[in-house]
Amino acid sequence: MTPERIVAALLALAVLVASVRWLLAMTRGATATRPRARRVVALLSLQAACAVLLYFTLLPPARLVDAGTMVVLTARADRVATTRRGEHVVALPEAGAAPGATRMPDLATALRRHPGTTRLRILGDGLTARDRDAVRGLALELTPPALPRGIVELWSPDRMQVGAVAGVRGRVVGVATGSAELLDPAGRRVDRRRLDKDGRFALFGEARSAGPFALRVRIRDSGGAVVEQASVPIHADAAVERRVLVLAGAPSPELKYLRRWATDAGLSLHTQIALGGGLRVGDPPIAFDPTTLKQFDLVVIDERAWQSLGAAQFDALRAAVRDGLGVLVRITGPLSAQGRARLRALGLTLASARVADNVRLDAPRPGIAPSDERSGEDTDDAAAIPGLTRRALRIDAIDGSPLLRDASGETLAIWRAEGRGRIAAWLLADSFRLVLAGHGERHARLWSDAAATLARTRGAPEPVLEGDALQGQRTVVCRIAAGSTVEAPDGARTPLLVDPGRGRAACAGFWPTVAGWHRVRSGDVAWPFHVAARDALPGVRARQSHEATAALASTSIATPGTATTPGPRWPWFLAWLAASALLWWLERARYGR
C-alpha cells in the first residue's frame, strides 16, 4: 500500500461519508425543504472535485522534465576544464578546494538532494569504489586529467617461491627517457632497465629467503633525478616437500643436472636409471604398483623407460595419474609404436613434424649483479643463453595446454589433465646446457615451473582476493572456510562472515584499517595478503579510478532528454481553493433551494 493509495482511499472515504450523511439528513427533512436535484448534483460533484483537487495538491502528478546534469568534482578536478555557469556542481570529499561547489559526503547523497539528475559529468580522477554503485542507471561522462607523472601501472607477484625470480613490470608516464631501478630490502640496486618508448619496464629481483619482504622500484628521469619510488611487497614461500620419481632408460647429462636441481631445491628424489641387462644405478629398487605410486607427487620418465614399462605397470601408472599423480614423459629418442599408443591412451598424440631441432629459450633475469653497479646496464640476455635441441615432433592433445614454449612461442611441451592428475610430454632434450653456460637459474626455473604445473596437488584451495586490497576500502576475500579470521599487522583479529548471497564462492567483505601484511587464518592455516597503504602509488590509483569510472560510463545507458519529477502544486491548490470557495458560496446561496 503506497502512500498515494492511502491518501486516495482516505479522501474517497471522506467524500463518501460526507455525501451519504448529507443525503440522509436531506431525506429525513421535510419534503418541502428538500433542495432541487440540480443543487444536490452541484454540491455533491463539487465536493468530489474538491477531494480530487486536494489529492493532486498533495501529490501532484509526475511530469516529464529535461534531464538535469550534475557536475561532480572528484580528486584532481582542478586540473580539468572548469564548470559552466548554471550547472549543479557538487564536490565529493576527494576533491580539493572547489569554490562554488556544494560539498557532499558521497555521490548517493548528492543524487538524493538533486532528484532530477540523469546525467553526471565527472571531472577529475573519477569515482571511488564508494560511489560507483550510486551511479546505476545514470548517464555518465568522465573528463579525467592527464595521469600524474610517475608510475601508473605496477604488476608484481604477491607470492612466490624462495629462490625464484620475481618480475616487476610497470608503466611510467611523463618521463620520456629515464630508467627504472629495482632495489632490494637492503637498498642495493639489483636491476636497472631503461624505460621503453611507452614508458614500460620490467625488472627482476630474487627472493632470497622465506617470508615477507619488500623490493622497491625507483624511477629516474634522464637527468638522474628520482621521479618516484614505490614499494613492491612480496611474500616468499618456503619449498614444500615433494617426492619425485625419476625413471630413465639410460644415464645422461640431462638426468644428472635434473637430479642435481631437484636435490638442491629440496625435493625428495628417487631415481632409477637402467643401464641395460637388468642393471640399475640409483636408489634402491621399488615396486612399481599403485601403493608405491601413491607416495610420489611426480614421475619424470624418459621414453626408454616408458616403453619398457610392463602392461601392469602402465595400468598402475595410469590409475595413479587419474588419482592425482603428475607424469612427465621426456621424449629424447625414437619412440616405438607401443610407446606412442600408451601416450595416445593418455590423450597425447605424437606426430613427426618438420621443425628445426634447435631451440632457444627466453631468459629474463636480473640485469646486473648487485656487486657491479657500473657495468651491465640492459644486458642482452637472450644472446647469452645457449641454443638447445628438441625432438622434431609435434604433440597433439585436444585439451592440452602448453607447458613450455621457446622464445619464438613454439611449444616444447604440452600437458593435459587426466582425471585428477596431469600428464605431459616434453620434447626438450638438453636443458642441462643452460647450467653449463651459467644459466643455472633458468634451468631451475624451467624445471620448477614444470614440476609446479604437474605435481600432485597439496592442501586445500587457498583464499583469493577480488581486486586489490587497499587501506580503507572494502576488500572481498573469497574461497574462505567458515570461521576464518583476518589478522591485521597490528595483531587485531576480525572474524569474517561469509556472504550467503555469493553462494559457494564463499566470499566475505573486510575493511582493512591498517596497511601491511594481513593473514586469513582458518584453523592453523594462514594465508597472507598485502593491504596497500591509502596513499601508496597515487598514479596507479588514479589510473584504476579512471578505468573503473570509464567502464561505468561505457555500460551506463545514456537516456538523453527527459526525466520524471513531481509537477508543481500551486495550480492544483488554486483550483482546489476555487472549488472550495464555490462550494462554500453554494452552501449559502439560495440556488436550487
Binding site: S209, R260, G419, G440, A450, T457, R458
Partner: protein, 765 residues
C-alpha cells in the same frame, strides 16, 4: 533651535549608554580570550586575538550606537511623551515645506519640550546580562590559568641551559661537542674541526674529542662496540680524549654513574685505507721485448700514482741471465730512479745501457720497478710485473709466443747421476779395506739412489717406470666396487693411484718418500729454474681418492677418481722425439747401472753410469723442456674386457646424491626470527648467534659497521619496529637463496574435482 540641540544631546546620551554597555559586557570576555591565547598559543596569536577582539568590540559598539538614529528618537519621544501628540517627527521636518497648522504644532511641541524636564532616553543598565558576561569571563580566566601547562618547546629549550636552577637533573645532556681531526702529515689532508661526532678520516688520523656534559658525571668514556675504550679526561668543564685511528669503529659516550646520557646515540668513525701505489708502465709496452738489431739502449718509463703521494725515489731492479743450458748465471742489481711530477702521480724514466750490462747473444735482461708510497712508519711498496729484454739466440726464433710455457731444462738430478758415479768410484777405491758385507750393502745403497733417480727420469718421460704401461683404468668390475666400501684399496683408488712400481712391495711408500727427499736435496742445489712443480706436485695425497664416501658432485674428487692429475705424460709429449730417445737410452743405462750396483758390482755398473751421464748431458744440450699443464685425462677402456660379452662381477649400483651445502644459516635464521609479527617473540638467541657470526665473518660483509650498528640499536630498543626492519633489510644480501623449488599446486575445490571426475567418465578409453 534649542529644542533641536536638546534633542541631539538626549540622543547622544542614549548612544553613549549603549557604547558603555557593550564595552562593560565585552571587555571581560575579550580579556579572557586574550589570556587564553597567551596561555596556549604563540605571542603572535595573542596579539592577533587582542587586536581582533578590540576591533570587534569597537565595531559592535559603534553599530549599536548607530542604531539609535532620528527615527528611533522620534518613536521613543512619541512613546514616552503623550504631550508630543504622536507628531514629534515634525520637529525634524523642513520648516519651509510645512503648512501653518504644522508650524503651529511645532511651536507647541517646542514649548512643551522646553517646559517639561528632560526625558531620560538612555537605556537602563542590563545588570543581569553584564553580570552573566562578567561571570563567564572570570570563569574562563580561572580555567585558563589553572589549566596544566602544555609541553612548550620554546619553554623547554629556554629552560635546559639554566642548570643551576634545576634542582635534580634526570639525565646528562651533551651540550657541546667538537671533533678535531688531524690526519697524518704525509697525507697532506688539512686538519679540520667538525661539530658532529661521526667522521670519515684517513688511516692513522689523530682524533680529539672535546665534549661538554651537563651535569658533569664523575667520569666518562668513549666505548667502542668492538671493545676499545677511551677514557675522557676532565678539564674544567670540558671532557676530552685523543687517539689515533687505524680501524673503523662504532662508539658511544658512556658517563659513569646512574644518570643516563640522552640522547644515547651510536657514532661512527670510518677509516679510509691508504691504498698501495699503482704502477703503470708506459715503456716497454709489452712484457717480452726482443732486442732490435744494433740496439744499445733500452728505454724504460713508468708512472706511479697513489692516493697521498709516491716516494721520490723508485727502485729499478735489473736481473741479467747470461749463458744457456745449465750454465746460466744470474746477476741482480738495483738502481734508484728519481721521479718527476706531482707527489700523487710521478713519472720515472730511465735508459738502460745494454753494453754496460754486458749483454750478449742468448742473454735476458729482466727489469722490475718498485715504488713506495709516503705512508709514515711503514711505507707500502709495490713491484711491477717483470719486463724482459731478450737477445735471442739465432735458432730460438720459433720460441716466440711460448715464453710463458717453457723453461730451460735444468733438472737437478744430473748432478745426482754424477754423484752416483763419484760415490761408486769412491766405493771401489775403498773396496780393499771393507768387509764384503759392508761393501755390498753400500753398493746396494748407491743402487737405491740410482733407482730413485731412474724413477724420476721415468716420470719425465711420462712412463710409469718399469716398462709395462700401468695406466689408470676405468672401474669395470662392479662387484669389486661394491665391496670397496669395506676394503682400504678399492678399484678406483688403484685406478687413481699412479704408483710407479706395481710389483706391490711393502716399501712402496717409503720409496716414494725417499724419492721426495732426494728431489728435495736436489732442489736445494743452486740451479733455480727447476721443474719444481713436478717434483712437489708429485707428492699429492691419494688417500682422498680412495675415500669411499666420495659423493657425487664433489668436484675435487671427480678428477682424482677418473682423471690422472699427474701431468707428466703431457710434459713428456712435449719433448721432441729425439730428446725422448736420448732420455730413454739414459734410462736404460741407469737401469743397468742400478742392476749391477744392487748386486754389489759397482765396477760393472760404472760404465753404464757413465753412459747414462753422457746421454743426460746430450739431453741437457739438446733443447728446452716444456712445463706441464694440468689437464683432463680420460681413463682408457679396458680392452681385455671389451666386447667379450662377459658380465661377471657386474651389479646394480647405488648413486645417492647429496644436496648442495647452503651458505651459513645464521643470517637466514635471524631474518626469519625478526619477521615474527608478535612482539613477544624471542629473537635474542638468534641475534646473539648472528652477532657472533658477524664477528667471525666481518670481511665477508660489505659494510659490517652498519650491521653492528643495527644490531646494537635493536638490542637497546627491542620494541623498535624500525630498527627491526632496518636490520632485516641489511641481512638481505647475506642470505643465500636455494635453487627455485616448484610452487605447490592447490587442490581444486569440490566443484572443480567433480568436474575433473566427470570429464574422465565422459571420455571412455
Amino acid at each position: 533651535m534649542s529644542a533641536a540641540l536638546a534633542l541631539q544631546q538626549w540622543l547622544d546620551a542614549a548612544r553613549r549608554r549603549r557604547i558603555a554597555i557593550v564595552l562593560v559586557a565585552g571587555l571581560p570576555l575579550l580579556l579572557a580570550a586574550t589570556v587564553a591565547a597567551w596561555r596556549f598559543g604563540t605571542p603572535a596569536v595573542t596579539v592577533a586575538t587582542g587586536i581582533v577582539g578590540v576591533l570587534f568590540v569597537i565595531a559592535l559598539a559603534w553599530r549599536r550606537a548607530r542604531a539609535l538614529d532620528r527615527r528611533w528618537l522620534v518613536r521613543t519621544l512619541d512613546a514616552i511623551r503623550v504631550d508630543m501628540d504622536d507628531s514629534s517627527d515634525l520637529l525634524f521636518a523642513d520648516a519651509g515645506a510645512l503648512n501653518p497648522l504644522e508650524r503651529l504644532q511645532i511651536a507647541r511641541l517646542q514649548q512643551r519640550l522646553a517646559d517639561a524636564p528632560a526625558p531620560d532616553l538612555r537605556a537602563p543598565w542590563p545588570v543581569r546580562t553584564l553580570v552573566a558576561c562578567a561571570l563567564i569571563a572570570s570563569g574562563s580566566l580561572a580555567l585558563v590559568m589553572l589549566w596544566p601547562a602544555p609541553p612548550h618547546p620554546a619553554a623547554m629549550a629556554s629552560k635546559t641551559p639554566g642548570t643551576a636552577t634545576q634542582p635534580a637533573a634526570r639525565e646528562i645532556r651533551l651540550t657541546q661537542q667538537r671533533l678535531d681531526i688531524a690526519p697524518p702529515a704525509y697525507t697532506r689532508v688539512p686538519k679540520r674541526t667538525i661539530e658532529t661526532l661521526d667522521a670519515r678520516v684517513p688511516e692513522g688520523t689523530r682524533l680529539r674529542w672535546t665534549l661538554r656534559l651537563q651535569p658533569a658525571p664523575a667520569a666518562a668514556a668513549l666505548v667502542f662496540l668492538d671493545g676499545r675504550r677511551l677514557e675522557l679526561r676532565r678539564d674544567d668543564e670540558d671532557w676530552s680524549v685523543e687517539a689515533a685511528f687505524d680501524k673503523a669503529g662504532l662508539y658511544r659516550i658512556v658517563p659513569a654513574g646512574a644518570l643516563p646520557l640522552l640522547p644515547d646515540k651510536l657514532h661512527r668513525i670510518d677509516v679510509i685505507r691508504d691504498r698501495p701505489p699503482q704502477i703503470r708502465v708506459t715503456a716497454p709496452d709489452r712484457n717480452l721485448t726482443l732486442r732490435g738489431t744494433g740496439q744499445r739502449q733500452w728505454a724504460l718509463a713508468f708512472e706511479a700514482s697513489d692516493d697521498y703521494g709516491v716516494a721520490m725515489i723508485a727502485q729499478l731492479r735489473i736481473t741479467t741471465a747470461q749463458g744457456t743450458g745449465e750454465n746460466v748465471t744470474f746477476r741482480e742489481q738495483s738502481r734508484p730512479l728519481t721521479g718527476s711530477g706531482a707527489a700523487t702521480r710521478r713519472r720515472y724514466a730511465h735508459r738502460l745501457d745494454l753494453d754496460a750490462l754486458g749483454l750478449a747473444e742468448g742473454d735476458d735482461v729482466v727489469v722490475q720497478f718498485e715504488v713506495r708510497d709516503n705512508r709514515a712508519g711503514k711505507p707500502q711498496s709495490v713491484r711491477s710485473a717483470s719486463y724482459i729484454l731478450r737477445w735471442p739466440l739465432p735458432q730460438a726464433d720459433t720460441d716466440t709466443g711460448l715464453e710463458g710455457l717453457m723453461k730451460k731444462t735444468l733438472p737437478a738430478y744430473f748432478r745426482s747421476q754424477r754423484q752416483i758415479i763419484i760415490d761408486a768410484e769412491a766405493l771401489l777405491k775403498e773396496k780393499p779395506k771393507l768387509a764384503q758385507d759392508t761393501f755390498v750393502e753400500r753398493s746396494d745403497g748407491i743402487g737405491v739412489d740410482q733407482r730413485l733417480l731412474r724413477l724420476r727420469y721415468g716420470q719425465f718421460l711420462g712412463e710409469e717406470s718399469e716398462g709395462a704401461p700401468q695406466r689408470p683404468l676405468m672401474p669395470t668390475n662392479d662387484a669389486e666396487d661394491v665391496a670397496a666400501a669395506s676394503t682400504e684399496k678399492n678399484t678406483s683408488a688403484q685406478a687413481a693411484d699412479h704408483d710407479h712400481d706395481h710389483d706391490g712391495d711393502g716399501d712402496r711408500h717409503a720409496d716414494d718418500d725417499a724419492a721426495h727427499a732426494a728431489a728435495g736435496d736436489a732442489d736445494a742445489a743452486p740451479s733455480p729454474p727447476l721443474p719444481e712443480g713436478h717434483a712437489h706436485d708429485d707428492g699429492h695425497d691419494h688417500g682422498a681418492a680412495a675415500s669411499p664416501s666420495a659423493g657425487f658432485g664433489q668436484a675435487q674428487d671427480v678428477l682424482a677418481e677418473y682423471g690422472h692429475t699427474h701431468d707428466l705424460s703431457e710434459a713428456a709429449t712435449l719433448l721432441d722425439p729425439e730428446t725422448r730417445t736420448t732420455l730413454r737410452a739414459a734410462l736404460d743405462q741407469m737401469w743397468q747401472s742400478e742392476l749391477n750396483l744392487r748386486q754389489g758390482k759397482p765396477d760393472t755398473a760404472l760404465p753404464f753410469a757413465y753412459k747414462a751421464l753422457d746421454f743426460i748431458k746430450q739431453v741437457q744440450q739438446a733443447s728446452r723442456i716444456y712445463l706441464a699443464r694440468v689437464g683432463y685425462e680420460q681413463a682408457p677402456v679396458d680392452e681385455t674386457r671389451r666386447l667379450t660379452g662377459k658380465r661377471d662381477g657386474l651389479a646394480s649400483r647405488r648413486d645417492a646424491l647429496a644436496a648442495a651445502q647452503a651458505g651459513d644459516t645464521e643470517p637466514a635464521t635471524l631474518w626469519r626470527a625478526l619477521e615474527a609479527r608478535d612482539r613477544s617473540a624471542d629473537w635474542k638467541p638468534e641475534l646473539d648467534a648472528f652477532a657472533d657470526w658477524l664477528g667471525r665473518n666481518e670481511s665477508r660483509v660489505q659494510d659490517p659497521l652498519a650491521l653492528f650498528a643495527a644490531i646494537d640499536a635493536l638490542q637497546r630498543a627491542p620494541d623498535c619496529d624500525d630498527c627491526r626492519r632496518r636490520l632485516r633489510g641489511l641481512l638481505w644480501p647475506l642470505l643465500s637463496p636455494p635453487p627455485t623449488a616448484p610452487a605447490p599446486r592447490r587442490a581444486a575445490d569440490r566443484d572443480g574435482q567433480a568436474y575433473l571426475d566427470a570429464l574422465r567418465e565422459a571420455t571412455p578409453r
